[in-house]
Symmetry: C2
Subunit: 398 residues, 2 copies
């Protein structure tokens, strides 16, 4: 029997893969690699703003000692966990213990291991609509039942969640990108944070506060962390948007017993992270004044780009669309109010030399047929203005 | 309801964790960190032999370009996959395509993702007895039914596997550490490799050839790869034992459709590896004459240490034990022939200042009550001799 004829297995795999079709974003990114297309479709931070020389210096410093080449502990290099515990203590407003900090291979791995720890097949997970696709993938693969709660300009509609609970729904986990939502661009209001935490405590569910963008505020810092309201909030973050994705350093702050369960799964998943990149991240984050200045540089650059994109969209399209204010993060969410179907428009837009991600790629309950996500991080201001000009040309010729 | 009262979930988690109790080796490593104990219990390569300066130079070279800071493709940095495809083509004896090479976060992640791709709960997995604990963890967590086939001095008893099949067993996967087995120390003979591949083709199962140690032969190179006999053999390897574990670079060579299924799961698991450590690994492996000389240095050092340990054991204990010849890899497997219970001996050995891992830690079907795994990589020759002296003292006073 030839291997080509062998079944790749298996009903279980088929079930998992049903929720894991290679994301529309990734497939699109392949199409938009053409040099003549200005892509607002990506979700990548700008490599030119990453602190290449400082990382090189930290790498040399780490490599003065052979210990950074060896295996490290599954919860992460202790030196990094100490730095993160101090930083998260300040963020959450209570003393976070080392045993409550767990370093993962990007925060995506934290999501994936948490789904294994917190969810039985069929468990109810509440996600935001539009949703972060990486979370949807993980929850679908875990066999969760997924119910979406819409966003508005103040973030997740916690009143809708409350109504679901009043109607008898019992979530195991509520996932929220509370700061500068991907793709929705909005931030959960302080009042809703408090209410969400109260609901978690009253009804005994976990909140996963997925926060890769919180440091990237433009005019006003993000509100107090959702985790500052309750121990039932597991906080995830990462250096991918502040330092560099290739360090592959994300982390969770969670009660000890959650971290210990995750630790057992991490051993089977990949043993441990990289002592080398953990040491580099620890070095850079521990240099607090340098780190603050560096993040401020990124913040300022992204802030200018965001304003350029938003102003160009508003001045060009007028009443034909609304878009978020882009108060932080990496994305603007656009709703065409003139009935434009963003999926149908995409081929025309690509012909005109501009790409974005249609809202349908992030849809759970609503279809978001007239919506789009646009990323402003990787273009300079002239490029973003030109992108909107091309989009307008495509829109006019549709 | 306080978070301390919340169930961490779930029947599913309980099932997973039942197979994932923090490994006996790891718990033991914590006990043996005492400076006065010579530990033969670890499974770590010697950090002093890792090419620290060459890695530092490669890091600087990679960091001359910001692209090594960005996210990379889920199957791994293309430059690394090219280098690995060339190397594996030579190893397997056929042209391996880029689409058949998939880089993982150490080969442990390859095992973990393959278990998800290839196994349904209840599927039969054949492991070797004694077993590589990291594989057992993964297969147990996947809900597989595990049947052990014993090792002898020529590796897995393929005749026992054949008998199982004749009796109606239908494995989905057979896992083998064919070269310099961890913990068993033995190597699968060429004749058995051929036979194993024939069985895989006839009965339609996958063989996972888990090969972290193949490069570390002492007097004679390892036999031709199991994968050279059939496309139904998925080959795993890693730079953890040749360059450095903290690069977190493992890989699999597998048919395209297996790699594509693994790719979807990798996106959910952790998006991608580190472009930085992938570039470092690519740089070092591509420098073939340097790499060959480097591996030869490691091989020579480990070879001397292995011979020292084996000779000290044999000359000290005489007929009271047998042990493997340590023809490569990192481990010697010891069988006490005088009835010594290695688990019972361990506290006495620790008091005498030496540690090893009792055979029971690797047991699947057999109990290996009189056996032990001893690692020779991290001690110099005087230290290894002293370790055996201490072991003899403990043995005499038991």
């Amino acid at each position: 029997m030839s291997s080509l004829g062998m079944p790749l297995s298996t009903p279980a795999l088929a079930g998992k893969l049903a929720g894991l079709q290679s994301s529309a974003i990734r497939d699109l990114l392949k199409l938009t690699a053409r040099a003549d297309i200005i892509s607002l479709a990506g979700g990548l931070p700008d490599a030119a703003l990453m602190p290449r020389e400082r990382i090189a210096a930290a790498a040399q410093s780490a490599l003065a000692d052979a210990s950074c080449l060896q295996y490290t502990e599954s919860p992460g290099l202790p030196a990094l966990r100490e730095v993160l515990a101090a930083r998260e203590s300040a963020r959450i407003g209570r003393a976070v213990g080392l045993n409550e900090v767990f370093v993962t291979h990007g925060s995506q791995q934290a999501l994936s291991l948490l789904a294994e720890v917190l969810l039985d097949p069929g468990a109810l997970v509440i996600v935001e609509d539009p949703a972060y696709v990486g979370a949807l993938q993980v929850f679908r693969a875990a066999g969760a039942r997924i119910v979406a709660v819409p966003l508005d300009r103040d973030g997740m509609r916690v009143d809708v969640l409350e109504e679901l609970i009043a109607n008898g729904e019992r979530p195991a986990v509520v996932h929220t990108v509370a700061n500068f939502h991907n793709p929705g661009g909005v931030t959960l209001s302080p009042e809703r944070r408090r209410r969400l935490a109260e609901l978690a405590e009253r009804h005994g569910f976990w909140v996963i506060e997925d926060d890769p963008y919180g440091e990237l505020w433009f005019d006003t810092p993000a509100p107090a962390a959702v985790a500052s309201y309750s121990d039932q909030v597991i906080r995830l973050s990462s250096v991918s948007k502040t330092l560099a994705p290739s360090l592959r350093v994300g982390w969770m702050v969670a009660p000890d017993r959650v971290c210990r369960a995750v630790e057992l799964l991490k051993q089977g998943a990949d043993l441990c992270g990289s002592a080398l990149t953990h040491q580099i991240a620890a070095d850079l984050i521990a240099d607090t004044s340098w780190f603050a200045a560096h993040v401020d540089t990124v913040r300022t650059a992204y802030g200018h780009r965001a304003k350029t994109l938003v102003e160009a969209l508003r001045s060009t399209f007028g009443d034909a669309l609304t878009c978020t204010d882009a108060a932080g993060g990496m994305f603007v969410w656009v709703d065409f109010t003139d009935g434009t179907d963003t999926t149908a428009l995409l081929p025309t837009a690509l012909d005109a030399g501009v790409a974005y991600v249609p809202g349908a790629a992030f849809a759970v309950a609503d279809a978001y047929r007239n919506s789009a996500r646009m990323c402003f991080t990787t273009g300079d201001e002239a490029t973003l203005t030109e992108a909107v000009r091309r989009l307008a040309a495509a829109h006019a010729s549709r």
